[in-house]
Subunit: 327 residues, 2 copies
Amino acid sequence: MKAIIGVDLGGTNIVVGAVAEDGNGLYGLSTQRTPAAGGPDAVVELMVKMTRECMEETRKMLGPDIEFIGVGIGAPGPLDRNRGIVLIAPNLGWRDMPLRDRISEAVGLPASLDNDANCAILGEWWRGAAQGAKVVVGLTIGTGVGGGIVIDGKLFHGASDIAGEIGHTTVDLNGRRCKCGNYGCVEAYASGAAIAARAVEGLEAGASSKLPEYVNGDLSAIDAQLVYRAARDGDEFAREVVRDTARFLGATVANMVNTLNPDVVVVCGGVTLAGDQLFVPLREEVRRRAFKPAVAACRIVAGALTGTAGVYGAAATFKAWYCDGKE
Amino acid sequence: MKAIIGVDLGGTNIVVGAVAEDGNGLYGLSTQRTPAAGGPDAVVELMVKMTRECMEETRKMLGPDIEFIGVGIGAPGPLDRNRGIVLIAPNLGWRDMPLRDRISEAVGLPASLDNDANCAILGEWWRGAAQGAKVVVGLTIGTGVGGGIVIDGKLFHGASDIAGEIGHTTVDLNGRRCKCGNYGCVEAYASGAAIAARAVEGLEAGASSKLPEYVNGDLSAIDAQLVYRAARDGDEFAREVVRDTARFLGATVANMVNTLNPDVVVVCGGVTLAGDQLFVPLREEVRRRAFKPAVAACRIVAGALTGTAGVYGAAATFKAWYCDGKE
């Protein structure tokens, strides 16, 4: 049996697992905090260590005949896929980091590099909620909002590997300033950080809510997960924050539906914990805004591979890059 | 020599020409008003008549050896390419019109059908301002705002032939209502009709401008062309209207740059008559909003095939559909 190691490098966690070449099996999965403060060397060292341990663990489970054909790496930031270099990763403080070759040399296997959000969406197409779709538009909602586009089973990278930055598309021309420098990006409203910030702003402006009780009055402890929990618990203000999030996300998804006419839109990340509180108004907003026949052709679903989409997808990008002709 | 007849059906005009199979030549070009009020039969009859005259004219010029291999038709509205049917064309009052087969049977040649804006953008890729580009995003600005996406020389149609409706993407969530039912579409600001409406609104609100002098005080006679002319003549208010148009278009183009990372964005239609008045602030707005490396990879240009992009592109869609495997 052949397997590919998928390595999903995030600003918060590193997740590593061995994926069977046909996608039917995930072995030796492990998660560790990203030692970002230790600089690039500490991060690379841990990625290599986790990769070796994953291979060992997988061999123990499946026997010594297992053959590892390579390592697929998903990493944040604009990157140069051909050269295997992370150009800029603000959360890690990296610039021009030759991540692919450092991992490849240390592990003794060929490796590939792609964007982390791209990997997650390709993972959802390969083994998750978007299986069988012809055109997939995906959003990954965490600290920021990432995106990815899969067409006929292949990631769409654009002219210079930057395609899919859907989190930084404008839905309100004169809106909130985003960290990217633009105004009114959906990320400025619907990222985990933005959801928490909007909740705190509302509370400080006097909104009636049980949210402060969850954090003993310390509003700085409110995060997006807590907003979803309060919404599930029936808190009206928390529900309003989630509904507003659905509105901004809905305008963005409607833009993608009219532009790319996908058959599946997959929304990944912690925000999906809000469940119907999010998805019911999200689908309604898309119906309100996008062309009817395009809406009719499109399912809007939550990601199915919680925590592992990036590992599956990183392995899939290696497979596409290495086995199918390094495209 | 082989040639394809390109037929560009618009709400206002029908344009027909014979395009050499290799794109190196356009013959027997003619334009007529669309007899929309006469119903589908009058329109089809005129399209057939123009096609026959074009073939005759081309034979006269190039000799009897010319072989016509088919007819490519560009038409407005959502359509079913496989069945060759225009589903809805509000400006023509059509529903479920089997346009492709009616033309094909009357002319005695195979025919194909695609969206008119798609055809114009493919035409610009084939023979116009976007030649050689890997990823093209195009906008056609006339009465409405159409769009098209070309990837690796092929139109991108999405899951159900609706991809490319960029004119109906939201840039202002709470903005002007658009004819499509959505709020804040770029078409509601940057179409010819919207440009004229915004100018008239400004004048009625007391803006100082020479625009009324051009129309002897009859504001209802102001159209977008006149606004561009006044802007070129130095009228400050007209320039402001064009700058605002650039701002809305710029946010839309920036969204496309971040989403699709094109190497060329091509803007077609009457609005390009505004020249630098439009393109200088448009490029600036895109630079302000989109990711630097994506902006660096992208040229934003005016269409080069004024009045004929749709004919070239309709012929190219026939070629792709018929000669390259009916995809």
